[in-house]
Amino acid sequence: MPPEKYRTSSLAGTLRLGRKLAARLAIGDCVGLVGALGAGKTALVRGIASGLGLADQRMVSSPTFVLVQEYPGRMPVFHLDLYRMSYPRAELADLGLDEMLGQGIVLVEWADRAADVLPNRRWRIDIEITGRKSRTFSVQPPQSGPKPAGRKRANRI
């Protein structure tokens, strides 16, 4: 299936798109975000986390230095960043990626830096900067395949 395309023309639009996508996510889902500095990866994560029930959107900040942040929503939301990781396989294992996938939803910025380390069955979102405020999102849901056991749908908003 070709990826879904979305265009946003403002930060608010990106947040709305994130909230919309959140309704389609379930525990065990991994979302890989790809886009240049300033593309809006963290902004989209803010929208997704808000859609998953995070009350205080200000909690969503860049995990570049802290590597991982966890937000309380209807289910735990884990926000990771590979920007600084040099040995992502070992580092993600060390941070507990498998445990995170078992508990909640995992959103990964700079996913292209270690695509082979992330679960193959994942959402792929590419963000392109198309203007000062406009962005194009290319969203590829996971290809159908064996779903992890114990999978539960997220509540719809």
Binding site: L37, T42, R58, V60, F65, I129, T130
Partner: protein
């Protein structure tokens, strides 16, 4: 307790890059402060490497503690309590310091004190110096943190605002990367900016709504990106791979202009907070507090507000264990200690 009543605390810090230990008397007099920096390792790899970091902490922690005790010329019998950073940070890294601290507390039968790393940064200015005059406003900014606190005492802090996207130090690092400079980016930008034209480019100062004390540096970072690589859709420069078209002096001007914008925002928020609470002191902490333009701006601000200015020396701006041992004395003084089940906590926000 010593015969002279002065209590001595051994502090241990391992929340991020540095493995550190220090011995501090009565909260302020630093007998020793040892930091085993992993920065060379990180420069080689271009960032914080937790897998390596936690392993490096394990390798360094015993040596660093032994060195701190030796430099302070104290033995276990002179140590009254063990303090350790237990939040926030990378769990794997925090656990190394925490295990070392628990082991010593148990073996030496001394109280254990858990300390918040960011609170300790807000206290670092009191080390080897006069006590801070409270109430104070503390601005802690580093690669991972940008936070404003109201401090009514060393141990009573209230978060007034924090970054909603990038931390200030992260913005310096990412802008340095956009400009093709090295890591860590803060010192590079600081030194390039000296003598450059900070008014060359008018970058946005993101102040958020109304009287908000939160910070946002993401828009500033993107503005620098657009300036250097062109605005997408309006020029064919984007996405250029490097600022190859800029001369060295233009790069320095962009660095200076970015720094001016970042410092303006930090100064404006600090001023708002100080006026709001009627602060008697302005306190800086964290690695970005080493930035010379920020120090100058806050020095002028303190003069205008007639506040006492507390700028820690560089060694106490950066991660260290003296601030942990120093702040811990105040907890000990209040009888606040932890037990051996003290947990490491990754994220403490809001």
């Amino acid at each position: 307790m010593k015969s002279d009543g002065r209590r001595v605390i051994l502090g241990i810090e391992s929340s991020c890059d540095e493995t550190a230990a220090a011995v501090v008397v009565e909260g302020r007099r630093v007998l020793s402060s040892v930091v085993a920096s992993q920065i060379d390792l990180h420069r080689r790899f271009g960032g914080v490497v937790p897998e390596i970091a936690s392993r490096a902490h394990i390798e360094a922690v015993n040596t660093v503690i032994a060195q701190a005790m030796k430099n302070a010329a104290v033995g276990p019998e002179q140590i009254d309590a063990i303090a350790v950073t237990h939040e926030p940070g990378l769990i794997g890294s925090l656990l190394v310091g925490l295990m070392a601290a628990k082991t010593l507390a148990w073996a030496w039968s001394r109280p254990l004190i858990g300390v918040n790393h960011v609170y300790a940064h807000a206290y670092a200015a009191a080390l080897d110096a006069e006590p801070i005059d409270y109430p104070a406003v503390a601005l802690v900014c580093s690669g991972g943190h940008t936070a404003l606190y109201r401090c009514d005492s060393p141990t009573r802090l209230k978060l007034l605002g924090a970054t909603i996207d990038d931390a200030a130090g992260e913005a310096f690092d990412k802008v340095a990367s956009i400009l093709g400079l090295g890591y860590p980016g803060g010192p590079e930008i600081d030194s390039l900016a000296k003598g450059a034209d900070a008014g060359a480019v008018r970058f946005p100062r993101t102040l958020l709504h109304g009287q908000s004390l939160d910070f946002s540096f993401s828009g500033l970072k993107t503005a620098v990106l657009y300036h250097v690589r062109g605005v997408p859709g309006r020029s064919n420069k984007y996405p250029g791979s490097a600022p190859a078209t800029l001369t060295e002096s233009q790069i320095a001007d962009v660095a200076a202009s970015f720094q001016a914008a970042a410092v303006d925002v930090l100064r404006i928020k600090l001023r708002r907070a100080a006026v709001k609470i009627g602060a008697r002191s302005l306190v800086l902490g964290g690695g970005v507090a080493a930035n010379s333009a920020l120090r100058q701006a806050i020095t002028e601000l303190a003069e205008k507000l007639k506040c006492s200015l507390r700028l820690p020396p560089l060694k106490y701006c950066l991660d260290n264990a003296a601030m942990i041992a120093g702040l811990a004395w105040h907890y000990l003084d209040q009888g606040v200690t932890a037990n051996l089940e003290l947990d490491a906590l990754a994220t403490v926000k809001r």
